[in-house]
C-alpha cells in the first residue's frame, strides 16, 4: 500500500512529531507509516483523515500486489 502522508503533512506544515502528537502515537510510528513499513489500523487511518480533512482513499492507495 502506498501513501502520501509526507505530502499531506507538508501541505499542513506539520513535522512528524507534530502529527504524532495530534494522533497520539510516537514519531517513529509516523516515520514507519510514511516509509511504508507499517500499515496503520482503521482507527489511525480515520484519525489521519480527520487531521488532513480528506477521505482515507486520497492518501492511502492499494498497489497491484495488495
Amino acid at each position: 500500500m502506498k501513501n502520501t502522508i509526507k505530502v499531506e503533512r507538508a501541505i499542513l506544515d506539520l513535522t512528524q512529531e507534530d502529527l504524532a502528537n495530534l494522533i497520539q502515537v510516537s514519531r517513529q510510528t509516523i516515520n514507519s507509516i510514511e516509509k511504508g513499513r507499517y500499515v496503520p489500523s482503521t482507527l489511525l487511518a480515520l484519525k489521519l483523515s480527520k487531521i488532513f480533512k480528506k477521505p482515507i482513499n486520497d492518501f492511502f492507495t492499494l498497489e497491484q500486489h495488495d
Binding site: 502515537v25 510516537s26 514507519s32 513499513r37 507499517y38 496503520p40 482507527l43 489511525l44
Partner: protein, 146 residues
C-alpha cells in the same frame, strides 16, 4: 442465566488478562532488580557465599526480567503493541526449539567431553530466562528499527 453469567465473567477475566501491563516507570525498577540479582549471583559464585540461595536469586532475576517485559513504553501505540506481540510469539517459538535442541546439544557435548554421568536435562530457570531474554532483546531491537 448461570451460563450467561459464567460467560460474562470469563469474557471480563480474559479482557483483564489481555491488558496485563505495568506503567513505564516500572521498567527501570525491573532493570535494577535484574542487575542486583545478577551481582548477587556472581558474588555468590566468586566469594562462595552460601547463605544466599541460588534458587531465590534466580527467581529474583526472573521477576526483574518479567517486570521489564511487562512494562509499557512511554508512548504505547499500536505499532509498539504489534512489535510486542511479535516478540512474545518469537520467544515462544524459540523456546520450543530450545527445549527440543538443548538436551541433544548437552548429550553431544557430554559425548565429546567424555562425561557420561552428567545430567543432560535443563532447568525451568534456563527455559524461562531464555524466553524472557529473547522477548526483551528482540523487543528492544525491533523498537529501535521500527
Amino acid at each position: 442465566m448461570i451460563y450467561k453469567n459464567i460467560c460474562d465473567w470469563d469474557r471480563k477475566a480474559s479482557e483483564k488478562l489481555k491488558n496485563i501491563q505495568l506503567p513505564n516507570q516500572w521498567k527501570s525498577m525491573g532493570y535494577a532488580i535484574m542487575v542486583i540479582a545478577l551481582v548477587l549471583i556472581l558474588s555468590r559464585k566468586i566469594f562462595d557465599i552460601s547463605f544466599l540461595s541460588k534458587t531465590i536469586l534466580q527467581n529474583i532475576l526472573i521477576v526483574g526480567l518479567l517486570i521489564v517485559s511487562l512494562s509499557k513504553e512511554k508512548i504505547e501505540d499500536e505499532l509498539i503493541i504489534k512489535v510486542r506481540a511479535m516478540t512474545y510469539r518469537m520467544a515462544f517459538i524459540f523456546a520450543v526449539f530450545y527445549g527440543l535442541l538443548q538436551p541433544i546439544i548437552n548429550y553431544v557435548v557430554d559425548i565429546i567431553l567424555g562425561v557420561s554421568d552428567k545430567d543432560s536435562h535443563f532447568t525451568y530457570f534456563q527455559l524461562i530466562i531464555f524466553m524472557l531474554l529473547i522477548q526483551v532483546g528482540f523487543f528492544e531491537l525491533f523498537k529501535r528499527k521500527r
